[in-house]
Symmetry: C2
Subunit: 294 residues, 2 copies
Amino acid sequence: MPVNPQVGRLDHVRAAEQPLFTPRTPRIVAARRLHRRRERDTTGRFLAEGPQAVREALAAPGVLVELFGTPAGLDRYAELADAASRAGVPVSGVTEEGLAALAETVAPQGIVAVCAQVDVSIGEALARRPRLVAVLAEIRDPGNAGTVLRTADAAGAGAVVFAGDAVDPYNGKCVRSSAGSLFHLDVVRAADPIAVLAELRAAGLTVLAASGYGETDLDELTDAGGLARPTAWLFGSEAHGLPAELADAADARVRVPLHGRAESLNLAAAAAVCLYASARALRPGAARSAPEGA
Amino acid sequence: MPVNPQVGRLDHVRAAEQPLFTPRTPRIVAARRLHRRRERDTTGRFLAEGPQAVREALAAPGVLVELFGTPAGLDRYAELADAASRAGVPVSGVTEEGLAALAETVAPQGIVAVCAQVDVSIGEALARRPRLVAVLAEIRDPGNAGTVLRTADAAGAGAVVFAGDAVDPYNGKCVRSSAGSLFHLDVVRAADPIAVLAELRAAGLTVLAASGYGETDLDELTDAGGLARPTAWLFGSEAHGLPAELADAADARVRVPLHGRAESLNLAAAAAVCLYASARALRPGAARSAPEGA
């Protein structure tokens, strides 16, 4: 949408001159309700804390809905406040208590944004032909989910699917753990993991289930060229692993080799090893050395 | 040491018949002080919660010093209590409150052990000629440190060095995050990281600093055969990275490639990718394909 930079700038200046919002100001009360999943599901909005998240949200058109900051926060991140104003996003000054009401961390660095949820359908995500996808099945821990989202982004994944009874990707801790990656790739929410598998396979992706008890060794699969094609990795919860039904539905169940005496890897580490094994095999040129038909 | 299984068994039965220890019983008061680092440093002991940690501690001769459990916990893990008794380790029944005083987790599964610290000197560790070593430099977060310890164990590392002003490896959260790996490999504590580097290099290990800003790409290093020799990886804190002095002292500074838009990986993920790249390159047979002199 066309915006007038001068009006934006004036809005921002005006915001700093208005009385500061407090925890009892209706707009803070409303935004604060987004700490609850039900409110996020109903409104299609969520909260993002701190300058990194705000910067990422600003970069995605239409995502930033409203920006709140203490006078010190808006001053420190004036370029973000200005950019928000220019994009027609309301920018409001809040008291320290008002900010604390919106933030879950002790040090949100003075700014918190209300954002529009960014997830797309599995069909939209697959239309962009991702070569690497991560599926988080029944993962309940928001820190784990956000970390895997961040790792998937780093490994070049085009989409991350939150499948089944997984954590809400807009949970505050998940948003923070993703370190901005929530805004970098296609996030998909899908109630039925088995249906997701069928769609992934129909789109030409090999579906690999990461499992400590898998019959296929990751190194051997790599050596056989089994990672040199578009791949979707399934990851289950650290406590319970992948549901058997889902692991059975994959093209293979793959275990990360355990060379020492550890009984297992934690989820974030296992996902990093699997996703980076794929990233390495999918590098331009890397696939050429894979055996034909492997 | 030779033990009489029957005496052990009788001790264990007798323990269950004695009055249960409470938070005010002197031995519980003394054990509880081990939550503090200063007390751990002074006594050379630490606390390990739950059956997995107790089982691992039992497997290492002389490590288990004392075992406490609720009647239900000692009953549920009777084989551990029996084994402890047979090894001459005092086993005592505690009230739920007594257990809660010793445990940091909500659900310690009924047993907590006092253990002797297990770390060895860098010289002892290097005498065993480890082919893979992880050095945690200035890592303050106990959960991160324990997770990297677990991942290093899984990747086949022979030693993990807590260097400089790093977290105490016997911090309760570190012990729990290590999931038993604290007992699986050589844990070393070293005040001077630069001196550690010199010893690692003198022992023939290539020293690689994991750094998001490293001049060497991990994939390229792997392709060049640079991981096919005994290697020590240096990891710094997630917040501050490696101290420059330490990164500069390494043989190379290596970055995990970022294929997507993530600005970085978290520590646990980066360590998993680096350590498993080494594990793969160090597999029997894998080194043969590395170029000569790389």
